[in-house]
């Protein structure tokens, strides 16, 4: 069992470009239409030629660090996506299916799964450890567990990214993702002086569980997106910031064991249990 603080959050999708817009959307049903990642405030320069997958990731990482007032160069990174950049895989496989097989060198080096952490490291001058993982349909909760264990065992801030782009037709067989989505969590162990936005207690159980339901208005866009599987957690955190949210979680049972509980499958026989165990501080 681990107790960790969530110190920062970041989120991006065409319908909400930051945490505030996501919270507003959830509480008022007021979503953006067709936001563009070109508008991100991420450091430019190095990122100008980066693919959308990198821009999305760097944007949510920047947001989470900003919310946490964390120095980006101090945080280890765990990036996660089930498929990696499907646009680049699609480009490579199409290009290689005909002759001459002329591959773009830039797209090739951008095809590595850790491209977002590479660009992040360059943009923020961070020499911190960076990982990039996949666990197929269980990628997001597995990455949360991996990041939490790293934060706890290494006693350091870890920035987790869960994301997936929208699927290209041929790869929908593995990933029927309709809309791009990216989210970031800045996790760190608790100490006396820290003031996290939320405190999460997490454990792994030998239980088979179903995925928690996504908020109804987000289901059509994100049901097939493995990077968006933690949306129920993000929603609880966002709604808790508003008055309506406070009454919601009171109705669902606030008690000494925590005011919200969520279970995510890690496989067919294991689950990740998350409990939010105290009110987040004022934002």
């Amino acid at each position: 069992m681990i107790e960790l603080g969530v110190f920062g959050l970041g989120i991006w999708s065409p319908g909400f470009s930051n945490w505030q817009q996501f919270s507003t959307g959830l509480s008022k049903g007021d979503w953006l239409s067709g936001g563009s990642i070109q508008a991100v405030q991420a450091p430019i320069g190095e990122l100008r030629r980066a693919p959308q997958s990198v821009k999305m990731a760097v944007e949510v990482m920047r947001q989470a660090c900003e919310m946490a007032s964390a120095n980006p160069a101090d945080v280890a990174v765990v990036f996660s996506s089930s498929m990696g950049d499907m646009q680049i895989s699609d480009y490579l496989c199409h290009t290689l299916s005909k002759t001459p097989r002329l591959v773009s060198p830039t797209r090739f080096h951008n095809s590595v799964h850790n491209a977002p952490t590479g660009y992040w490291s360059i943009a923020t001058q961070s020499y911190a450890p960076a990982s990039a993982i996949s666990a197929y349909s269980h990628t997001a909760p597995m990455a949360f567990l991996e990041a939490a264990i790293q934060a706890f065992e290494e006693d350091r801030q870890v920035l987790l990214v869960t994301q997936e782009g929208s699927a290209v037709p041929a790869l929908r067989v593995s990933c029927p993702s309709n809309q791009p989505f990216s989210s970031a969590f800045l996790l760190a162990p608790l100490d006396a002086s820290s003031s996290p936005k939320a405190i999460i207690r997490l454990s792994v159980a030998r239980e088979s569980v179903d995925w928690p339901e996504l908020p109804r208005e987000l289901q059509q866009d994100f049901l097939g997106n493995p990077g968006a599987r933690l949306l129920p957690l993000l929603s609880v955190l966002a709604l808790n910031e508003s008055q309506e949210g406070r009454s919601t979680h009171n109705e669902t049972g606030s008690n000494s064991e925590g005011w919200a509980h969520l279970e995510f499958p890690l496989s067919s026989n294991l689950c990740l249990k998350l409990s939010l165990i105290s009110e987040p501080g004022p934002s």
């Binding site: 591959v103 060198p105 660009y119 990039a132 197929y136 567990l145 067989v173 593995s174």
Partner: protein, 395 residues
């Protein structure tokens, strides 16, 4: 907590299984061959494992058909690895053993084949509609299903450091008590994306690669599958080697070019030594990343010169099987363990004249020597570095 390496196996162009690889290394015979990969017309040498395409997956794994998973299956059959694993499963339980695999390209070779046969609707033909194959976790899914392991499972993909970083994640999982043991490893197989991709970057050699030689002119691409079981030392008292340290870092410099002074490499080495509580002086042997690219080899000697004295032997073994990318970390970890087991330090095959620009001496010939502490370096695109330290366990 002490972490033992209780079993391991490796398959590459240098040999299928440990004894074949040991013979290749002792006799200094390379497994590199002129490129004969079907559909690939590049003038280069490759480290192809000859029997991969003839390896049949058992019926219950047929839905995971890909060259990468065939190579994984071939690798798992060697050195009694599965028998030893089954004994461990009986003792600990399948859900107390995790799976952490490393790969650069997963099963993208199979995806390439599907794209060459796309239907009018832009969909894959029926035989290629394999959800668990066309994703980055394909090696982790395959290994879990092939072994029956039920613990947490993930795949790390950080280019050429992937299967070195699996040791760091596995160590944290065990230290935390998430699991008692982890089956870790790496599998990467030859595919068009990698060959034409590295060709586009002008990084592949038309000749067999010559790590650290003054005439080195690029890498040879290889394929490999390597596996190890790492466990709490008290659960595997017969183990001969332990993982003492790991160091991870980023370069903060360039997506496909190493930091010019090797800053990220030095940080990875320092962090690994610190965790191992060893001085650089204590390291007897380092298996280098040593790809035979102009930049990597030069910069790696800069990093070595900042950390070590010449009492430490250092060599690259990529002349035997080429650069096996996401499998290089585990493969070279196993080569390092084998060097300790056999008291035979491999030299650098195909390095005839070391580059005078180097700031650290490179071991060219094999040397008979006992090793107490050894290290291995893995550096990947995106400036992603990992260094591991292993030690011999005394009776």
């Amino acid at each position: 907590m002490r972490l033992a390496i209780s079993s391991y196996t490796a398959t590459s162009a240098a040999g299928i299984g440990l004894s074949a690889m040991a013979n290749s290394i002792a006799s200094r015979s390379s497994g590199l061959r002129p490129n004969d990969l079907p559909e690939c017309d590049l003038l280069t040498w490759i480290g192809r494992v000859p029997s991969v395409e003839d390896t049949c997956l058992p019926h219950h794994l047929e839905h995971l058909q890909s060259r990468n998973n065939q190579l994984a299956w071939l690798g798992l059959q060697q050195d009694g690895f599965l028998d030893t694993l089954n004994q461990l499963i009986e003792r600990l339980g399948a859900d107390r053993i995790g799976v952490v695999m490393g790969t650069s390209t997963s099963s993208i070779g199979r995806t390439e084949e599907a794209y060459a046969r796309l239907e009018q609707s832009a969909l894959m033909p029926e035989a290629y509609r394999q959800p668990e194959v066309h994703n980055l976790h394909s090696p982790g899914l395959f290994v879990a299903q092939a072994t029956g392991l039920k613990g947490p499972s993930m795949t790390i993909s950080t280019a050429c450091s992937s299967s070195a970083k699996v040791f760091a994640s596995a160590a944290r999982w065990i230290q935390h008590g998430l699991v008692d043991a982890v089956l870790l490893g790496g599998v990467d197989s030859l595919c068009l994306s990698i060959l034409y991709g590295f060709n586009s970057l002008e990084l592949i050699s038309p000749d067999p690669c010559r790590p650290f030689d003054v005439r080195r002119n690029g890498i040879s691409i290889g394929e490999a599958a390597g596996f190890a079981v790492i466990t709490r030392a008290d659960l595997a008292p017969e183990s001969k080697f332990e993982l003492l340290g790991y160091g991870e870092s980023s370069d903060a410099y360039h997506m496909s070019h190493p930091h010019p002074e090797g800053k990220g490499a030095v940080l990875a080495i320092d962090r690994a030594l610190k965790r191992a509580q060893l001085s650089a002086q204590a390291i007897d042997y380092i298996n280098l990343h040593g790809t035979a690219s102009r930049a990597n080899d030069l910069v790696e000697t800069y990093a070595l010169a900042q950390c070590f004295t010449d009492r430490t032997l250092a060599s690259s073994t990529k002349g035997w099987m080429g650069h096996t990318l996401g499998a290089a970390g585990i493969l070279e970890a196993i080569i390092t363990l084998q060097a300790m087991a056999n008291d035979l330090v491999p030299g650098t095959l195909n390095c005839d004249v070391p580059d005078p620009e180097f700031r650290f001496p490179i071991l060219q010939s094999n040397v008979v020597q006992s090793i107490q502490y050894a290290m291995t370096n893995s550096f990947g695109f995106g400036g992603n570095n990992a260094t591991l330290v292993f030690g011999r366990i005394h009776d």
